[in-house]
């Protein structure tokens, strides 16, 4: 009972985004697009600011690199944990600087999709091999939130 009341109180104070995912508004101009172009200043339309994108991308990758100590069960985990505070700079290359392999990259692309709310096609995902290419890609796509 107390939990339900607390939850209600909390929810009434939370700002919940009302924008639907573009995919959900099939057949009409997505609400997200309308609202964001109405509120964005200047000629950028609904593109995200590159600096903000870069910060968010770096943060996604840093979180990906950290493996909880209790979950370290392979050599790869151990290496990744040791490296997690190093190397995630705006210029970091996934393979050369972070030692990530194809399965890691696929997971990171998925993490970017979740962070920015849009699906990245395979032919584009294949070109994302560094923080910089990820930032450039996301910043140039209006669907990114």
């Amino acid at each position: 009972m107390a939990m339900a009341a607390a939850r209600r109180a909390l929810l009434s104070h939370l700002r919940v985004p009302v924008l639907a995912r573009p995919a959900a508004a099939a057949g009409s101009v997505p609400a997200a697009r309308l609202l964001s172009s109405a509120t964005e200043e200047g000629s950028k339309g609904s593109f995200l600011d590159k600096g903000e994108v870069a910060d968010r991308i770096v943060s996604v990758v840093k979180n990906f690199q950290k493996v909880e100590p209790s979950k370290v069960s392979t050599v790869a985990d151990a290496h990744r944990t040791a490296d997690s505070d190093l190397g995630v700079t705006p210029n970091a290359h996934f393979q050369k600087d972070l030692g990530l392999d194809s399965l890691d990259t696929v997971e990171i692309v998925m993490a970017f999709e979740e962070e920015f709310g849009f699906e990245i096609p395979d032919n584009e995902a294949e070109k994302i091999d560094s923080i910089k290419t990820a930032v450039d890609f996301v910043a140039s796509h209006p669907q990114a939130k």
Binding site: T74, A76, L98, G99, V106, N123, E126
Partner: protein, 318 residues
């Protein structure tokens, strides 16, 4: 160790002169004594040679390997971040060069190989046209994990190889990864596995098989999207690949997928899954019915080779 000297018909071009080099202390043999492996008997045979970087710490050996690299390979290895990644990058090239050299019966110096990339970025040997006597129909592919680098070799057939640590954890859930990247039938088969460890292992097996196929095809990840083909592990070690049914407004990526590929999946050293895939051009054979002949060696190039296939270290997955 012994090696046979094979005589070939016709005049053999003399390998390019090499700067004089004294073998480092502790190493008895120069490059010419990479013992020739058993030949690749047929297009159905694949040989895999692997190194364990964590075990290779002798500086004189590492210097010797570094010397085999081309200037651009050396530069690339040194551009990696930190000594571990640099060493891995260097060993990967040294492994490739020494392995290829073996399959020319050491007629070609490991340092002499040149490489190019096909239009999708898959690395291949570049044979100079003036060396027509010195062309071998060798195909190769390399796979890295944190603790093992493997080089697969085949004759006359494009090859792909992928190795992953068996217990590798993913940050996303197995089913969410599968839903995003695999086919619906693969998701279903994974979803049926109740035990999460078993499910994770099955995912890794499927992942290595799909990676090996994409690498063999050589068109890149987007040239053979994972969700356009299904792989099933059937009984009797048969591994079957099927193109996913095409949805009408899909792009044409996936049109290059073919099903005439042969697979082998093994457990290596109880710690890894290794998948190998080569093109199958034999006519009339049922998909995957004739097993791929696989031989696997652990190597410390110039120092020691250990045949591990045929032992418990390499277990074919049924």
């Amino acid at each position: 160790m012994h090696h046979r000297l094979l005589l070939r018909r016709g005049a053999m071009p003399v390998p390019p002169p090499l700067p004089p080099r004294t073998p480092p202390p502790g190493v008895a043999r120069p490059f010419a004594s990479l013992p020739p492996p058993p030949p690749l008997q047929s297009r159905r045979e694949v040989h895999v040679w692997y190194v364990c970087p964590d075990e290779l710490n002798d500086h004189s050996h590492l210097d010797m390997y570094m010397e085999l690299l081309s200037p651009s390979e050396r530069k690339n290895a040194l551009s990696m971040n930190g000594p571990r990644l640099q060493k891995d990058a260097m060993l990967s090239r040294a492994l490739l060069r020494t392995t290829l050299s073996r399959y020319t019966n050491s007629k070609i110096d490991p340092r002499s190989f040149e490489f190019k990339k096909n239009k999708f970025g898959k690395p291949e040997i570049l044979w100079r046209s003036d060396d027509s006597n010195m062309e071998w129909p060798l195909h190769f592919n390399i796979s890295h994990t944190s603790s093992l680098i493997a080089c697969g070799i085949a004759m006359d057939a494009p090859i792909g190889i992928d190795v992953e640590e068996k217990k590798r954890k993913t940050t996303k859930s197995i089913l969410s990864l599968a839903r995003r990247y695999f086919t619906p039938s693969e998701v279903d088969s994974l979803a049926k596995i109740a035990d999460s460890d078993a499910q994770q292992k099955e995912f890794i097996k499927l992942w290595t098989l799909k990676e090996a196929y994409v690498k063999a095809l050589g068109r890149g990840f987007s040239g053979a999207p994972f969700n356009r083909f299904s792989i099933q592990l059937k009984t009797n070690s048969r591994i079957q690949i099927t193109k996913a049914p095409k949805v009408c407004n899909d792009s044409d990526s996936g049109d290059y997928l073919s099903e005439n590929w042969r697979f082998a999946l093994t457990e290596l050293n109880s710690s890894y899954y290794m998948a190998v895939c080569i093109e199958d051009n034999s006519r009339g054979s049922e998909n995957g019915s004739v097993p791929l002949g696989l031989k696997v060696w652990k190597t410390v190039p110039f120092i020691e080779d250990t045949l591990v296939s045929g032992t418990d270290a390499v277990k074919l997955i049924t």
